[in-house]
């Protein structure tokens, strides 16, 4: 009885795409879709179409970047953090202090803030590697609260509860001054968001990105194929911290002010909520969620300014009880029918 040797290229069942076609499959997945171009074009067009809303749009861009950083952690690496605002806030203060004490150049400040937040992320990443889900939640929350306390105490440096003022920015690239209507702010934030997004997109489709998804999907198996999970998680945690830091820096630079709430639990919770609304794991969730979130905020705040927190809570409760998928099943079905296949979309 001789065994059929699969190594000898035995007959295959069904039509098999040629080896080169496999590459084409993957390439199609990672290529830019038409609707993506449309979305970014729309974001740019908003500058011209909604000149009175540029400050709001700036807010959306910053929130989208923050949510994107959380997506990298949650959607791709499966790490739930309750304290990601730690890096957002750290970046904000870093950028503010940089502008006051070193240089008002925005791009330089951005780099400084991003790097600082990245270093902080790297330093704290080891804390989230150990223990259960709950431990991770606690540690991330704890670190953020520690930072908040520290910012409060060192009010000589940070301005404490009054906030950090005197953040004056030089023109972007020496040419574009920050103005009161947010024209420079929005394009600046949008530009930074776009660049970082493109980088994140590359990352996600790279072997590294895929290895993260493997770790998230089945950590045991990931290590059984040669992936060292902890090292990869440290790397993505650092990158996510850097991204959040840049978002915080954008806030500091475009509003020329930093208050303690950049480090608050509310900030972390908002980011999580935005991502959950938009959907984690396909990179655009942050952007979509940010738009939806801000719009909701505008509408509800217009009606009951003081009690936004209540409605926010209610939205969260309903969202979880009903499930985002079921809520959006209708509109999404239509969307899917109308557009080309989306890249990998996974709900948390």
């Amino acid at each position: 009885m001789s065994a059929a040797d699969p190594a000898a290229g035995a007959a295959m069942s069904g039509p098999a795409p040629a080896a080169g076609a496999a590459g084409a499959l993957l390439a199609r997945d990672s290529a830019w879709k038409p609707w993506e171009f449309a979305l970014w074009a729309l974001a740019l067009a908003a500058f011209f179409l909604l000149p009175s809303k540029l400050l709001l749009l700036n807010d959306i861009a910053i929130l989208a970047l923050f949510a994107l950083s959380i997506d990298l952690l949650l959607g791709y690496a499966g790490i739930v953090s309750l304290g990601h605002a730690a890096f957002f806030g750290f970046g904000a203060y870093a950028a503010g202090l940089f502008a006051i004490h070193v240089s008002g150049d925005p791009l330089l400040g951005l780099v400084a803030a991003g790097l600082s937040a990245g270093v902080l992320g790297f330093a704290t990443s080891f804390l989230v590697l150990r223990g259960s889900d709950l431990t991770r939640l606690m540690i991330t929350l704890g670190v953020a609260l520690m930072l908040l306390e520290a910012a409060n105490r060192f009010s000589g440096l940070t301005g404490g509860a009054d906030g950090l003022t005197g953040v004056t920015m030089a023109p972007v690239l020496g040419l574009f001054e920050f103005d009161l209507w947010g024209r420079t702010s929005y394009l600046y934030s949008l530009g930074v968001l776009f660049v970082l997004f493109v980088l994140a997109r590359l990352l996600v489709h790279s072997p590294f990105g895929l290895s993260l998804r493997a770790i998230k999907g089945n950590r045991l198996r990931a290590s059984a194929i040669g992936i060292a999970p902890n090292r990869r998680l440290v790397a993505i945690y650092t990158i996510a911290a850097l991204y959040a830091g840049v978002a915080g820096a954008l806030l500091a630079q475009t509003t020329q002010f930093v208050s303690l709430d950049v480090l608050s639990f509310q900030r972390s919770a908002d980011g999580l909520l935005v991502l959950v609304i938009g959907g984690a794991g396909y990179l655009y969730g942050g952007l979509v969620g940010a738009i939806a979130f801000k719009l909701m905020h505008e509408v509800i705040s217009g009606l009951t300014a003081q009690y936004w927190l209540f409605w926010l809570g209610l939205i969260l409760v309903i969202l979880v009880l009903v499930g985002r998928d079921r809520l959006l099943a209708g509109p999404r079905g239509l969307l899917r029918a109308a557009l080309a296949r989306l890249p990998r979309r996974r709900a948390p």
């Binding site: 059929a4 039509p15 080896a19 072997p207 895929l210 089945n218 198996r221 194929i225």
Partner: protein, 262 residues
């Protein structure tokens, strides 16, 4: 006997996988007791024993999922006892799991490709898309084709029936081009019509790969293995050739006797 020729290794060749007095205790429970095993390169070695004998625990010890309470593990002469699982994979030790451990949301192509990319040390590449690694993709596609999974390679793993997932489970372990392959009940959970395929693949593994097989299917064991170790209650009862083991009365009572009744 097997249709495969053993490599022309001399009997004095260094064992490629060796455990010395391996022990694992969980509190008062002794799961693995003084197990010393030695596999020569190219061996086809089966590990059998009643349920609960500690076979999977042994595999977990070999791969580093569990840390031993005592004893040593040597891979081609190198002491790997304290190495992390992923490090052992890098050294050429690969395994399959008794219950499929796969990446439900990844496609088959992605699954195999990432394993190959890791093997090629390309796992840290961050800014070039995986799709650009043509050599890796081609090898992945080819491997899937060999396992007759080419037609579904673009599907998510979760969409496949269990039997076909099992093929992927084995393909994934092979993708690492291991020197030693540990198969934990490869046909377990597979419906009758899929078993044949699995058995063919196991029998058709390259001769250069040393294989340690855990199995309950005696037909496969007897037709595949050149040596058998019998594990009972965490300890090695008997080890020898197929003839020696199947003729041993202790084995009959401890294991084969049960099998005949149950």
């Amino acid at each position: 006997m097997t249709a495969l020729a053993s490599p022309a290794a001399t009997t004095t060749a260094q064992p490629i996988l060796q455990t010395i007095g391996l022990e694992k205790r969980f509190g008062g429970l002794v799961a693995t007791s003084d197990v010393s095993l030695s596999l020569r390169p190219g061996a086809r070695h089966a590990l059998i024993g009643p349920n609960g004998a500690g076979k999977t625990t042994f595999i977990n010890l070999l791969t580093g999922v569990l840390a031993p309470s005592a004893g040593k593990i040597l891979l081609d002469g190198t002491d790997i006892t304290t190495e992390r699982p992923h490090a052992r994979v890098r050294r050429g030790l690969s395994r399959t799991f008794q219950i499929n451990q796969l990446f439900a949301e990844l496609t088959l192509l992605e699954t195999v490709a990432i394993a190959i990319a890791e093997r090629e040390r390309k796992g840290w590449s961050m800014f070039r898309p995986l799709a650009a690694q043509t050599a890796v993709i081609d090898e992945a596609a080819e491997l899937l084709a060999r396992f007759r999974l080419a037609d579904v390679m673009a599907k998510r793993t979760a969409e496949l029936p269990y039997g076909r997932q099992r093929l992927l489970e084995i393909a994934l372990a092979i993708a690492a081009k291991p020197r030693v392959l540990l198969l934990d009940e490869p046909a377990a959970g597979v419906p009758e019509d899929g078993r044949r395929e699995i058995l063919d693949i196991v029998r058709g593994l390259p001769a250069s790969v040393t294989v340690l097989l855990i199995e309950h299917d005696m037909d496969l064991v007897f037709s595949f293995a050149d040596r058998i170790s019998v594990l009972v209650a965490g300890g090695l009862l008997v080890e020898g050739t197929v003839a020696e083991v199947s003729g041993d009365p202790r084995v009959r009572t401890a294991y084969l006797g049960e099998d005949a009744d149950g």
